[in-house]
Symmetry: C3
Subunit: 533 residues, 3 copies
């Protein structure tokens, strides 16, 4: 180990650079901002052969998004590279001379953008409670300064809207039917309207996302590998379960097959997610747990609730059991705040309201399964109530520097679920207090959803930034360091570089924190080579 270190010390300064950033890595930024700046100002008209891709910003064929395309992109690229000709401008004129080398580096670029980044890369490259912001040191694969095609900007979290609205439909059905809130005389029309609205919304969002699956499968794959975003893949099915629950007619009338069809993907995702937690590696729970992970658990309870209502008591109990066990694990992990759970924000963020969702839904589910709002259901309900109070007590921190996103919709459904649970609870323990609580929480839920709806409409139609560039799917597989500065300094001081400085570039962010990634702490060595005799 001593030898390479001492060799490196004696080598000329440039070799230090290359040893840290291999030459072909330096060419990786064909899609980086350094390289893209000239291209943005001079769009290449010669590249507009195909128009398979939907592109909002420009009618022209834009090759930069090809790497995320399902078929067209990669195929075309291969064709054009067979036809020869280096169509990608080389940012480094020195490298352009060597054609063989440049083609190699290009191949690597393709390779690099196609493979999905590891979970640790997501943590290293992104920040924020939803891992939705690029760290300052990162350079995305796609151009940052331009609006991407709409489909690339349409995230899976859009299904949160469906969850928010369809849970409202369920809430009003509950208020209408529960004895405790019968005195409100809620018209069946409210549920009817809300249900159709949410059904329509569900159809629309599903259609758009299906287009994304078809045309930009790479982007979908990257969302599925995003440690936070993957939890939203439960959202479509949870929204459908809410639709089934909120059906303007008795749930009993639904065919059992509907339930089985909705629970099958949830069971599949359960097996996938929980298996990844258990198997460890970069997806281990002590690493990826975040309040959003509640979405990966709550589906079991929503399904159990509906199933028990439809008379499928044993399958409902199965999902309840699976949910409970994994909820306990998740709850403990989140409460512990392990030092390895990086992305949890300190300030209150709407995502924390997901804490309320699971016990609320679990409480009603258990009441439905056991046939009464007994001790078990009430324990779960009181836990939900306490967590709700705990969050409300800290609500003063609420809107401090929190950026709105579509995911907020998913964070509203817990409030609605708590209102539903309260209405059911109030039917079991009828008193003025519980009824007032039910009405109060229902009002809060409706106001919250209305507020988020208003914000969404404002963002969508007035500020038109509801769908910003989804940078979290555009991170590079390997960190792209900014060596420019260090290189310049080394070169200028190269003349009188008698001493030698080896400095260690510590990689991107917090990546070095877990044992698996930890590189040996490199000593910084300073030696004055030799004084003249």
């Amino acid at each position: 180990m001593a030898a390479p270190e001492s060799d490196r010390l004696r080598s000329p300064p440039y070799s230090i650079l290359t040893s840290v950033a291999p030459a072909n890595e330096a060419k990786l930024d064909a899609h980086g901002p350094d390289a893209s700046e000239p291209r943005t100002t001079h769009p290449q008209p010669t590249l507009t052969q195909g128009t398979l891709a939907r592109s909002d910003s420009t009618g022209e064929r834009d090759r930069r998004f090809d790497q995320f395309k399902t078929l067209g992109g990669r195929l075309e690229r291969q064709l054009s590279s067979i036809r020869g000709g280096s169509q990608h401008p080389h940012p480094d004129p020195a490298a352009a001379g060597d054609d063989e080398a440049s083609r190699d580096s290009e191949a690597e670029t393709d390779d690099d953008s196609c493979k999905v980044p590891t979970a640790d890369r997501y943590f290293a490259a992104l920040e924020g409670p939803e891992l939705e912001t690029l760290r300052a040191t990162e350079v995305p694969v796609l151009p940052e300064d331009e609006t991407w095609p709409f489909l690339l900007r349409f995230p899976i979290s859009a299904f949160g809207m469906c969850m928010g609205v369809s849970s409202q439909a369920t809430l009003y059905k509950t208020l209408e039917l529960e004895p405790s809130t019968a005195f409100l005389r809620v018209s069946p029309g409210v549920n009817y309207v809300l249900w159709w609205v949410s059904a329509a919304l569900m159809a629309l969002v599903s259609f758009i996302y299906l287009l994304k699956v078809v045309f930009y499968f790479e982007a979908v794959r990257r969302e599925f590998h995003h440690p936070i975003r993957v939890n939203f893949f439960f959202a479509p099915w949870i929204a459908c379960l809410f639709l089934a629950k909120g059906l303007p007619e008795p749930v009993m009338s639904l065919h059992h097959a509907v339930w089985y069809q909705l629970m099958a993907p949830i069971l599949f995702l359960d097996l996938k997610m929980y298996g990844q937690w258990m198997s460890g590696g970069e997806w281990r729970l002590s690493r990826v747990a975040s309040p959003t992970t509640h979405l990966a658990v709550v589906g079991n309870f929503v399904g159990a609730q509906l199933g028990a209502r439809m008379g499928l008591r044993e399958p409902a109990l199965f999902f309840f059991a699976v949910g409970t066990v994994h909820y306990v694990v998740l709850f403990v992990t989140l409460y512990q705040r392990l030092p390895t759970n990086v992305p949890l924000p300190r300030d209150l963020h709407p995502v924390f309201f997901l804490f309320v969702a699971t016990p609320s839904v679990a409480s009603v589910a258990w009441a439905r399964i056991s046939g009464e709002f007994g001790l078990g259901a009430r324990v779960a309900y009181y836990v939900a109530l306490f967590l709700y109070a705990s969050l409300v007590a800290r609500v003063s921190f609420f809107f401090r520097g929190v950026r709105f996103s579509l995911a907020w919709w998913a964070y509203t459904f817990p409030v609605t679920s708590a209102a539903i649970a309260t209405a059911v609870y109030a039917s079991a323990m009828t008193s003025a207090l519980t009824q007032a609580l039910a009405v109060g929480l229902s009002a809060v839920a409706s106001v919250t959803v209305a507020g988020v709806l208003a914000t969404t409409v404002y963002r969508a139609f007035v500020r038109r930034d509801l769908f910003p560039n989804d940078v979290s799917i555009a991170i590079r597989r390997r960190p792209k360091a900014k060596f420019g500065k260090i290189l310049k300094r080394i070169r200028t001081s190269s003349a009188d570089l008698k001493e030698l400085v080896v400095s260690r570039h510590s990689g991107a962010g917090s990546a070095s924190e877990t044992s698996s990634v930890s590189e040996p702490p490199t000593p910084m060595v300073y030696g004055r080579a030799r004084a003249e005799p």
Copy 2:
């Protein structure tokens, strides 16, 4: 990064010192022991203007404790500094010349002592199972070599005494009333006497601590921010709950409002504590969890038990639910012994008996809520029994180098609770074995309390060291390193300091263990300065 390092290497030795310990930091020890030594020998008679502060040791006005005073101290200091004149002797004669600078440094001293240290500072500066001992490297804010005012030495853990005695009152009431132990014919007088003793003790301790709140609010605030000590803020309310439970007349006769008034502060503290766990940061559970944290959970169960007895079944269930959920989280965390949970001692310490408290109390609480000593209550009871046995099996380690403190009283109440639970259990499952167990555990509890009482009396009246200086509230906000030694050596060797400078400032204790604090492991640097020709 390389450049400043190499600059530092060439700078004169003094600059190394300043780079690590800024000049004004060096003056911070106006209250430190180095500086206080001359002052202790020559008490300043000119400073005895006010006598608001109670001072046991000297009748004179002692300014050193002013920073912990609620009003008087800071106000006076401000007045005197307006009146001009540098009344604080400067330890560094060089700095005394510059009056402007000295006033700046004084301002910083005030600032430093007023702000509450962070949780991480507590962990870094203190050690021991109750974080009650100053680390060797630390210099406290208050003089170490002198007895402080009594109120500053009166810790919140004194309420442990009330818990210990009032739980004994409850125990004898239980032995008197439970069918399983009726054969003992315990006289109601025992409960009566114990209850009045504990009521009087409660009144006394509350009064003294109230004085502390009034006169030394800073000290109270620092206790509230102490990661271990904060749990004792539950103790007064738990003691009151025990008083209510142990009332020499039927609990039914109590007004419901009493229960609500006692549970309100517990609910408030619950929201505060659990919210801090959840919100993470330096108060995250994976950092602050210790057996003492059981005190923050057990209150819910004591309250639930009393509430259920008084007929408040639903509110009792609420607290039971809240307690259970957080108990599970705490239990798992404590059992896991995460590497981030530093202060847990390896050897058996009385604090470990708090493990027994929660399941014991929870067992009886659940029995009262569900109306029978059913499966649930028995599971909790057996868990308590096993943990009890587990601790007793390791009792050989018990008194190895464990220092007595008032907190031991809080560690006796679990033994009493286990005895109570056993008596209740024995009433449900009456047999010779269970009755013997009930009697045996009651005897153990009484003997334990008697032993701790004897030790307390001995410490209080014979050795007169029951209330030692409470250094754990007197830590500095920032570590104050002892640079004297390193400075001296550097200065002496400064003449021929051609070869080598090793500077590694290792910070305070274990602070570098979490990722957030971790400093890069400092390289050892070797430079050959000059070879003679």
Copy 3:
């Protein structure tokens, strides 16, 4: 800190070596491979005084295994060392001159091999899911290149065979008696034969292991301190419980004393294991938890199941409670995959099937205790079912580079337990589906056991490598670094070593990862003070 460091810098190169590996440490390898090579070729005939030790490979007296012997070895060695004469050949001829020193070093060798390595040493020296493989950097205490005496190679995990076969006996008894599988008309003969086979196997394995206890107690002690292996000490008692359960006559006929006698060692081990988890240190759960730890929990449930069947409901509930609480802790810990839990393999390994064991057994135990297959039992059963499905879904990874070992037997009993639980469940919820499931899982269990049996027979009699050298008990207490290479290089390059050699010795394996073990990253520094002019 700076002073000794700088001294070291100026000292001649050899002193560096000695400072890292003290001279007497270097002689520690009297039993190491370097030293053993000459001895292996020239067996010392002068040492064949006693023949107390069973030695399979050579009829002669082989001293190298003496250190693991209970009495003979150490006694003889002491005798021979009293008789004088340095019978151990010294690998270092220089050291051989000093007789006093050599005797000292010998004493240290004895001392070193007798003391049991710490848990952290096991983690540092071994790898693999069962910590059964020596790391590349390690040198074992016993000769690696030769077959050890049979008893030293007979691990405690051999009791896994008994668990596997006796649980099959129980399965066929269940299939015979449960109403849900009565249609299979399983003959009582199957249970009868299997029971006698497993009883005989139990007797055999117990006898052999007892011999190991008697003759090689050191090896047993080292197995008991092995973080993974220690869990197998529960296996004999669990196997006995299965034998009691699978008895070809009604369990009711068993005397209660049998149950108490079987549960006593389990309670003892519970107290020992869980106490170690709680007390922290190197045995803390966040460090030692692995799927194998399930064996330390499942015994409680097996015992509870049998106890409830025999009418001992309260003692059964006691073990159920103890088991449940610790199972929750273990389950959460395993699912979290804390970064400190090193040895968990990423790929699926048979050990993962232990996840299925506990909920399966717990489900039936609860059903027996509560008297019906109610909600609680069904929740546990469904959890087991989900975990089973989760593992089967990943079974494609199954046999990738997994080495067979006797421990696999222990990993088959969960499959059998799941089959038993399914049969009991099917009796409560009789339907074609549940009956098919019961039959299917029973078939899978029988096929699995048959497969493992075939492999065992093949290994035992054809490849004759069923009992390989059990290196995991032969690790050194302190890491023995391989300094040969680095030393050689330093010596050869010493002539022109004018500038600087910084070499960092990174310690053994992953030992530096937890805070307790973390050595300060010790840079080994060598500087040649002055070049000739």
